[in-house]
Amino acid sequence: MLRVAGLHAYYGQAHILSDVSLEGNAGEVVVLLGRNGAGKSTTLKSIIGLVRPAQGEITFEGRRIDGLSAHRIARLGLGYVPEERRIFTDLTVMENLEVGRQPSRAGAPAWSPDRLFRLFPNLGEMRNRPGGRMSGGEQQMLTIARTLMGNPRCILLDEPSEGLAPVIVEQMAATIRELKQEGLSVVLSEQNLHFAASVADRATIIEKGRIRYTGSMAELQANDAIRAQYLTV
């Protein structure tokens, strides 16, 4: 479904990504694991078109998308949930959802505000509250709901568990499993191995902008050496 091959990206002179490759199959949850500053966010931003990669090939459902502008990539059915959440703080919950709304597409679950409020009951109780007056957990729910309004076939989730209370992290894991049930493909970036293990089918480890490991989540769980080398602080 989503294929990234030989990706290189720079911020000014700094070489951030070096030959990054990543693959996400239909209906699968793939996690990109790595420490702070390893290049996880840059990889996701390159895929959605917010960072222009210097080199490399990105295909989505067999179509080259590198070089396209972000809105065209989004319209192909690829959703992006940023790490900083980037809620429109002046807009209400309903208005935030409206910004994300796109026509429904074949082969993807179709979302409406009401359906999303069943998935995120908290949001349904604050439809007219401005985004700026919501808690971090509520904002995280809203940013995912907003992206789902675009009826994507695949979503990129950038560190969804970051800064959330443990009980909310549990909810988040349940939500991701539910989205997978709906037939959505998910690519997420994470530092939280425990959280990743509870949702992901496969894992890729990135360190200093290079891919160090790719395999199934179960294999990674069994491999203490790899985990110690790249993931523990």
């Binding site: 989004a74 992006y80 940023p82 429109f88 807009l91 910004v99 994300g100 675009g150």
Partner: protein, 629 residues
């Protein structure tokens, strides 16, 4: 002032609110979504009033349908012009630095002015009064023109329509979202390009409509663009960037103050009579200065969060490479031997170039390493010029001493204004510098007894030994050359490093113990001194001073020079000043439409060299040669 007079002035103020609000609302919308400070917005207003004039002439002056149809069509026509401008020009420069966008829209101001001159001529054009609304309404024994009553209604109606549009439609929701985070809106699948075009079209339409509605009240003339953009900036800043109700409130306050200043007439203060009507030119800028100091984000605006990533890192500034130093000495050598062969004309042009190189370099010190953009740099240039002139003529000082004191006059002005200015940052800082420049200009312009008012001062001639053009040339070369060298030293001194640290990360500079405001204040004062010296030399080279020397266009000239050369380069302002001064001189001699040519040149340069001329050269030279440019 009687009660009925107060009421009628209040209604006058309300009538004035509408057009001002329309222009400012458009400017605010455009800034909110595209972050472009559209200098050409006053030009849209001007085109609106001219178009309305022509359309009314076409439909016939008597028909009410023709009149209102003409006004609406004029607005739509300007909206269409807005679309063309956005598609052809702005769309190519959204990625360019903010200041370049400003420069491009300023180029547009020049082009539109000359197109208007070509189509409608230089004479003021008086439109008809609105058919069917030529009478007046009796209010407590005084008359309010019927048309003003209509205007009083139109403003709030449009405010209501805009509010509905922004809060009740998908388009409005997208616009508000994009005002906050346009990149995210794009990542959610919204085509920003069309959103920008439509917002720009709406903004231009509102400006055009605002202009067209004024046709029965004021004549169409070619000066409207600059006065209106000044007013509109003030309203947007006072009301709060991006806030439509704020724009209405600010337009209301400023129109009221102006109406009452005119209404009150002359007042006696401590036995001296003071014409309040003179205060109108300054009033709005005083209001803006107060608002910016007390509530920098405007009356109904919201404080902007500091962005986490302030964008791409600035280009590094390094010491001059050996080839560059040699080139600099070569240029200096040529300039020293030049008077032996050059004619007077060339020498006078070169003196102008030296003066403006110093002026631009002082502005650059503030904008580049200092990170503070000034829209009102001409104030310090003008203070230096007037200071020198008045010290010579009124205080009877010898010319040499008057010239030597001109930097002090500029520095003193900068010291006082700077205390307020460094409390702000970004666009707000720039606006406050503009406010102070306008206040200075208006004071000079109206203080007939002391500054000569609009006539300026004549007879500011240099001392006997400097009357020869060649000697004056060498004096200018010496003073400007030494100043430029000093500015370069300041940039490479620890003081310059501190300024750059503060520019790149104010928080971090603060946390390592740098008193940033204090350093910025000192820099501002130093910059004022250099600009003052440039002004002093300029005054003596021309023999006269006029208020134009410190008006907005002079400040803009400085900006253009710095940006043309490249903001983050050291030689940029000098090259920019030379190219600009030469171009202006050259083009002005060739054609009546020199502004349009200059504007097109500026636009062309912005499109071709988004990093400035020197930045462009630097990017193409090996680092060994380009260092220190």
């Amino acid at each position: 002032m009687s009660f009925s007079a107060i009421v009628i002035q209040f209604l006058n103020g309300l009538a004035g609110t509408s057009s001002l609000f329309l222009v400012a609302a458009g400017l605010s919308l455009i800034f909110g979504v595209s972050r472009i400070v559209n200098f050409a917005h006053g030009s849209f207003y001007m085109v609106g009033i001219y178009l309305a004039y022509s359309l009314i002439e076409y439909f016939g002056r008597g028909s009410a349908l023709g009149f209102w149809g003409a006004i609406l069509l004029a607005g739509l026509g300007v909206g269409l012009i807005g679309i063309v401008v956005e598609l052809v020009l702005l769309r190519r420069i959204y990625q360019a630095p903010e200041l370049f966008q400003l420069l491009a829209t300023f180029g547009l101001v020049l082009v539109i002015k000359d197109v208007a001159l070509w189509i409608w001529g230089a004479e003021e054009l008086f439109g008809p009064r609105a058919p069917g609304l030529r009478g007046g309404i009796e209010i407590m024994g005084r008359t309010l023109p019927e048309y003003d009553a209509i205007l009083i209604v139109i403003g709030p109606v449009i405010l209501g329509l805009l509010w509905l549009l922004l809060t009740r439609t998908r388009w409005g929701t997208l616009v508000r979202a994009a005002t906050q985070d346009r990149e995210m809106v794009g990542a959610l699948g919204v085509n920003q390009a069309w959103l920008f075009t439509s917002v720009f079209a709406l903004g231009a339409f509102l400006a055009g409509l605002g202009g067209a509605l004024q046709i029965p009240r004021e004549p169409a003339n070619l000066l409207l663009d600059v006065t209106v953009i000044g007013d509109a900036f003030v309203v947007v800043v006072v009301g709060g960037m991006g806030s439509i109700p704020g724009a209405f409130l600010a337009a209301f306050i400023i129109s009221q103050i102006k109406a009452f200043c005119i209404g009150i007439g002359t007042v006696e203060v401590f036995g001296a009579s003071f014409a309040m009507s003179k205060f109108t030119l300054v009033a709005e800028f005083v209001v803006m200065a107060i608002v910016l100091v007390v509530r920098p984000w405007g009356l109904l605006g919201r404080p902007q969060a500091m962005p986490r990533h302030a964008g791409a890192a600035e280009e590094r500034i390094s010491l001059a490479s050996r080839p560059l130093s040699m080139a600099a000495f070569a240029v200096l050598a040529i300039l020293i031997v030049l008077p032996a062969t050059a004619d007077t004309y060339t020498l006078v042009l070169l003196v102008d170039i030296f003066v403006f190189a110093l002026f631009a370099a002082s502005l650059h010190l503030m904008m580049g390493p200092g990170g503070m953009v000034s829209f009102g740099h001409a104030a310090y240039f003008g203070l230096g010029a007037y200071g020198a002139g008045l010290l010579l003529l009124k205080a009877g000082l010898p010319m040499e001493l008057a010239l030597a004191l001109s930097p002090l006059v500029g520095a003193l002005g900068a010291l006082i204004f700077g205390w307020f200015v460094v409390r702000l940052s970004g666009v707000y800082l720039a606006m406050l510098t503009l406010a102070f420049a306008q206040i200075t200009w208006a004071s000079v312009y109206q203080w007939d007894e002391f500054t000569g008012g609009s006539n300026g001062i004549v007879g500011v001639w240099p001392a006997e030994w400097l009357t020869s053009k060649t000697v004056f040339y060498f004096m200018t070369l010496l003073l400007c050359g030494a100043s430029l060298w000093l500015i370069r030293r300041i940039i490479h001194a620890p003081f310059g490093y501190t300024l750059r640290a503060g520019r790149d990360s104010p928080l971090r500079a603060d946390s390592i113990g740098i008193d940033l405001r204090r350093h910025q204040w000192i820099a501002f004062t130093i910059v004022g001194a250099f600009a003052g010296l440039a002004g002093g030399i300029f005054a003596f080279s021309k023999g006269s001073i006029s208020p134009e020397g410190l008006a907005i266009p002079r400040s803009v000239d400085g900006l253009v020079m710095v940006l043309l050369g490249g903001v983050q380069t050291l030689t940029g302002p000098v090259v920019g000043a030379a190219v600009f001064t030469w171009l202006q001189d050259e083009v002005a001699r060739q054609t009546e439409y020199w502004r349009a040519l200059l504007g097109l040149t500026i636009i062309g340069l912005v499109l071709a060299f988004p990093q400035g001329i020197v930045g462009f050269v630097k990017a193409r030279l090996p680092a060994r040669l380009g260092g220190g440019l």
